[in-house]
């Protein structure tokens, strides 16, 4: 019984992180219609920005989180301005954009390795941390913070998309980019902002992973894949579906290893993806 509640808690934890990745990924996919593979490396950029500010420069931890998130956002915004927007202007196909984003991913990841070496770094001050007991399972303070900041980001994003006229413009572009341009929405600018917001969320996910376990330059791919799987099983381009998908994925992969060794976690995730692709390709919530 105890192990079951621990697995469920771990699943919710993982789900919260995947949800942050899926939110940004889906938001960007919604307005640009391409799989932005570079989304993964933004988590690493966020993590290393925090590492530099907090560990190397000794800045206040909250200030470092805020700045690290902003740096990840700016990096994503920069990638859009420097690479994707130029390709879109030339009417490049989504396949070209996908390959370009893979290039961005690889380049940025290599840059991180060169600057920070490939060594694994932990971000948290106290490695052990006091553990809290919840429903028979154990969670650390950090993990509680992860869940709450993830939930806060989801609510914040939902408020932005539903409550503001910016949100309406984003939904309009997701619906039909060309029409949005025709009715006078500055689609390039809105897309740039969406890249900032989505990438900032990925950066936050990277920092939180760093608190929970640690960071290394190659951490992006794993997070990206989980974010993408969550998006696909939730319904690509639908941010609420992506959140559901993320928690489903987190729970399934953690409960899936109840009886088998933990290294099969990724296999369980991809099995879930395949099941969805075959039996419900539109995802949980159809766009």
């Amino acid at each position: 019984m105890e192990i079951l509640s621990q697995l469920i808690l771990n699943g919710v934890m993982a789900g919260a992180l995947y949800a942050l990745m899926a939110l940004g990924f889906n938001l960007i996919y919604g307005v640009t219609r391409f799989f932005n593979l570079a989304h993964g490396v933004l988590a690493a950029i966020g993590g290393y920005a925090f590492f530099t500010l907090s560990k190397m420069l000794g800045l206040n931890i909250y200030l470092s989180v805020a700045t690290g998130v902003a740096i990840a956002g700016l990096a994503g915004y920069g990638f859009d301005r420097l690479v994707y927007s130029k390709l879109r202007k030339r009417k490049a196909s989504n396949l070209v954009l996908l390959v370009a984003s893979l290039g961005v991913f690889t380049t940025a990841q290599a840059a991180l390795s060169i600057i920070f070496t490939s060594q694994f770094q932990t971000l948290s001050e106290t490695a052990g941390q006091e553990a809290l007991s919840v429903l028979g399972g154990v969670v650390t303070r950090t993990q509680v913070i992860i869940i709450f900041s993830s939930l806060a980001s989801m609510l914040g994003l939902a408020a932005l998309l539903n409550g503001t006229s910016f949100g309406k413009a984003v939904r309009a572009i997701s619906d039909d980019e060309e029409v949005a341009r025709m009715v006078g929405i500055n689609t390039g600018r809105v897309t740039g902002y969406v890249f900032f917001i989505g990438s900032a969320l990925a950066g936050l996910a990277g920092i939180l992973v760093g608190f929970d376990t640690g960071i290394q330059p190659t951490m992006g791919m794993g997070l990206l894949l989980k974010g993408v799987i969550a998006s696909i099983i939730g319904g690509v381009g639908n941010i609420y579906g992506g959140v559901l998908g993320a928690f489903l994925l987190g729970l399934v992969e953690n409960l899936g290893i109840w009886m088998i060794p933990g290294e099969w976690k990724d296999a369980v995730s991809f099995l879930l993806l395949i099941v969805f692709l075959v039996f419900r390709p539109q995802g949980i919530i159809k766009r």
Binding site: F166, A169, A172, D175, E178, I185, Y193
Partner: protein, 252 residues
């Protein structure tokens, strides 16, 4: 027409598509506060002209002069509102997965994208949207998705979108690209009274239309295009009687 009357002018305006001059060295003048119809056979460049004016097609030669002072050689689509222009499309395009009212509200967005991050659509915008939707008779449908509307209703929704934008931002020039095609008689009446109302408010309407009865009824001035070039202009009565115009239409 004196110079000061012209709100929009084109000077030697040219647009090429793969070597074909869709709009060819076109110099026309649109009078302020009037309904000007642009007519011509299919392929005469009317729609290309509207696309160039609204920034959807780049200008290849010549320029557009607005309000007698602003000379434009490059127009970006999202700049249209700031130049005081709004338009409808021959093939209606809506935000299909958004509610009818949001289709109107979205064009009332704050011009600065940064500002829009913090702006809610308040009562003011909702009143503008309500007014526009009531004018075209779609207020009852406001909550449904745009994809659920009939062909005619879709055209009316697009017109409501333009009305809302022009009410909010003092649009001076409104371009209607074949607004009547495929409408029921009752809807035709609604749209023609909207066009008249806009004119009576002092706005300039550019109307692309094929139906000669409607052109006679609505327009103050008619410009005829043929193969991308200027062919003739004048009052509807004059122009529609001219032999060269009739020939261009009949393709003789």
């Amino acid at each position: 027409m004196t110079k000061t009357d012209a709100i929009l002018k084109t000077k030697g305006l040219t647009k090429r598509f793969d070597g074909v001059r869709a709009v060819d060295d076109l110099s026309i003048s649109i009078a302020k506060g009037k309904v000007t119809s642009v007519i011509g056979p299919n392929g005469s460049g009317k729609t290309t002209l509207t696309n160039v004016l609204s920034g959807l097609a780049e200008i290849d030669g010549g320029c557009v002069v607005l309000h007698g002072t602003v000379t434009l050689k490059k127009i970006r689509p999202f700049d249209m509102p700031s130049y005081g222009m709004a338009r409808t499309f021959q093939e209606v395009r809506l935000f299909e997965q958004m509610p009818v009212i949001d289709n109107v509200l979205v064009v009332l967005t704050e011009r600065s994208v940064f500002g829009a991050l913090f702006e809610r659509h308040g009562a003011f915008h909702e009143r503008q949207a309500e007014e526009a939707l009531k004018k075209v008779g779609l207020w009852e449908k406001r909550g449904g998705l745009a994809s659920g509307l009939s062909y005619g209703q879709r055209k009316l929704l697009e017109i409501a979108r333009v009305l809302a934008v022009s009410a909010g931002r003092q649009m001076d020039i409104i371009i209607f690209d074949e607004p009547f095609a495929g409408l029921f008689p009752k809807m035709v009446k609604t749209v023609s009274s909207i066009i008249r109302e806009l004119r009576d408010e002092g706005r300039t309407v550019i109307l692309i239309e094929h139906n000669m009865d409607l052109i006679r009824e609505l327009s103050d001035h008619v410009i005829v295009m043929d193969s991308g070039r200027f062919l003739a202009e004048g009052s509807p009565a004059e122009v529609l009687e001219r032999r060269d115009v009739i020939e261009a239409y009949l393709g003789e």
